[in-house]
């Protein structure tokens, strides 16, 4: 049942991605259809997730596939919220394929890591995971915005103007949105790391164990922190900021996808 719903979600997201691209390249006038489709996909996604949590409990986010399912759900949800204020169809054209890949991976990668021992299943679990994943979702969206920024910037620099470009928002608004997403993502990530660390301190007695996930999120945290600092003090914006945003997300995503299977750790199933 869940697996079927997850597959269905992935298929709908693929359809959304196609319709966004169609919208962008063929110049279909209204972006209502892809957005409505995405909302439909999000609803199926929500049902799949709810039934999963009801059956397995929230602790199932320790399983890679389910984690992806939860994280992509947060990402699409935030995009839909942003969409209310900024109708950015182009961002949808990045979010939809990303959501497709994540949900597709959710059943392709499937399970992996072991169960979380009952002793660990306290309120810290949903708190830490939700905060960390919300941060990830913000960075995923910032990644999308940065891709569009770089495309737009490239077009303008090389003086190749296309119809596609007209559908892109201005560099100023893309850069502004990127900044706002980081301003949300960074504190969320900080809180995610803090809660994780506190939880570890309470449960295991050490706040920081140099677990690979901690190292990678620490790296990403430093990177995003430097980016925000540079932006506020030295005007680190535009192309360089977009590139750094993308690098930061690659660090987060890369470790998220493969790190645990290479280096088993407390985040990857070894809870003792």
């Amino acid at each position: 049942m869940d697996a079927l719903l997850v597959k269905l979600t992935a298929v709908v997201y693929l359809g959304v991605a196609v319709s966004y691209f169609f919208h962008l390249f063929r110049g279909a006038s209204a972006s209502r259809l892809p957005t409505a489709l995405l909302l439909g996909g999000f609803l199926i996604h929500s049902i799949a997730l709810t039934s999963l949590f009801l059956r397995e409990g929230f602790a199932t986010v320790a399983v890679m596939g389910d984690a992806l399912l939860f994280n992509s759900w947060l990402m699409v949800g935030i995009y839909l919220l942003i969409q209310l204020k900024y109708p950015l169809a182009v961002l949808g054209a990045i979010v939809a394929p990303l959501a497709f890949l994540m949900t597709f991976a959710a059943f392709a990668v499937g399970g992996g890591a072991g169960e979380i021992p009952p002793g660990l299943q306290t309120f810290w679990l949903p708190l830490h995971v939700t905060l960390a994943f919300l941060g990830n979702a913000m960075f995923a969206l910032a990644f999308g915005v940065s891709v569009i920024y770089l495309l737009q910037e490239r077009h303008l620099k090389h003086k190749k103007l296309t119809i596609l470009m007209k559908r892109f928002p201005s560099l100023e608004s893309l850069d502004g949105l990127n900044y706002r997403l980081l301003m949300w993502g960074f504190p969320l990530m900080t809180l995610g790391i803090l809660t994780g660390s506190l939880w570890a301190g309470i449960h295991w007695g050490d706040y920081w164990s140099w677990d690979p996930r901690q190292i990678s999120s620490g790296l990403a945290w430093l990177l995003y922190g430097a980016l925000l600092h540079g932006r506020i003090t030295a005007g680190l914006r535009g192309k360089k900021a977009a590139l750094l945003t993308m690098v930061g997300f690659c660090v987060v995503l890369g470790y998220f996808l493969w790190g645990d299977s290479i280096f088993p750790s407390r985040h990857g199933g070894r809870f003792e």
Binding site: G27, Q152, L156, K157, K159, L161, I163, M165, K166, F168, P169, S170, L171, E172, S173, G176, A234, G235, L236, R237, G238, K239, K240
Partner: protein, 428 residues
Amino acid sequence: MQKQIVIVGLNHRSAPIEVRESVAFENVYVREALVHLRDYPSIDEGVILSTCNRVEVIAAAGDVRSAFDDINGFLAQQKAQRHAEPLDDHVYTYEGAEAVRHLFRVAASLDSMVIGEPQILGQLKQYYDAAQQAGTVGAVLHRLFHRSFSVAKRVRSETGIGSGAVSVSSIAVDLAKRIFDRFDDKTVMLIGAGKIGDLMARHLQSHGVKNLMVTNRTFERAVSLAEKIHGNPIRFEDFPRYLKMADLVIGCAGAPEILIAAATVEKILRERKQKAMFFIDIGDRRNFDAKINNLDNVYLYNIDDLKSVAEENLQERASEAEKAESIVLEEAQTFVRWLGSLEQVPTITALRQRFEEIRRREIEKSLGGSLKDLSAEQRAAVQDMTTAMVNKMLHGPISQLRKSSPEELEDPTLYVAALKKLFDLEDK
């Protein structure tokens, strides 16, 4: 008499500018000219259109041939006041369905020098209004012009004919919109008080720019331009100091040397905390260092870049024009059908009457002569039979006429005219 649409005119393709100018109607005299035009007996209704690129007389007339002659004479007279050289080679004429199509093409900006330019529709409306005030517009031209306005709107909304700017200053604004989200918090610096810079500054102001700085080698010129466009004049030797405040920098000084070097901009950017800048080098000579474009967050376009964008957009419009042509054709057919239907109903009635007359005359003759012995029932039967015969014979042609949905741009008025001639149905 059946009214036809006729158009006589010359445009940017058919005639050189001197010839167009020689027949152009000055605004103040249009009303007078319209009344004069209507004085010709062949002209029932008339509108004069006179722009830089075309002079046309659009009329509704009963007799097409004499209308053509009269309008030609009318234009020649207009021209004779200036200088004498025959117009014949430069004038085109359209009648009926082709005239309708031509007007729709003009309104939809398919016949314009710059395809898709939006001004022509406004001009058409303006000249139509003038004719209406002069009282030279009747039911036919009224409908024709209103139809042409909505055709133009339809073309604009259903095709991309008007998309993609084609003038240098609107392209610059278009580009600026891709860099900046809003203009009301941006500052523009204009270097040089040339005409094109002035134009561009006004264009930007209409998009919300509030802060304008103007500089020029001759400070007085900067002051007078700044006054005109509500900007702040700046002494030429001071402008580098103010440069860091500018988000858009427009150069049209025509100076022989580079006025702003890349290194200067690099320094300014640091002071501005890397806030984006857009340089537009619009003069004939390059005043901004080409390397400026290599810096992050800075974009430099020169006049050639803008012109090549214009070229691309024009090609884009040309391909959209094909879609527009089919809309125009479709609308012209609909209009011509309507025009035909004006004469259809009376013609059908006249045709019926004519046949009924013949039937009655022949029946009376027969019933008074060879058939005078028939009983009352038989007489009634003969009446019924002949009526049915006439109805059956007329059924085909009449329903064909009513349907009259020609595949191509065929003129249904032709059938009406033919019937009138064949059965001698001319209005009595």
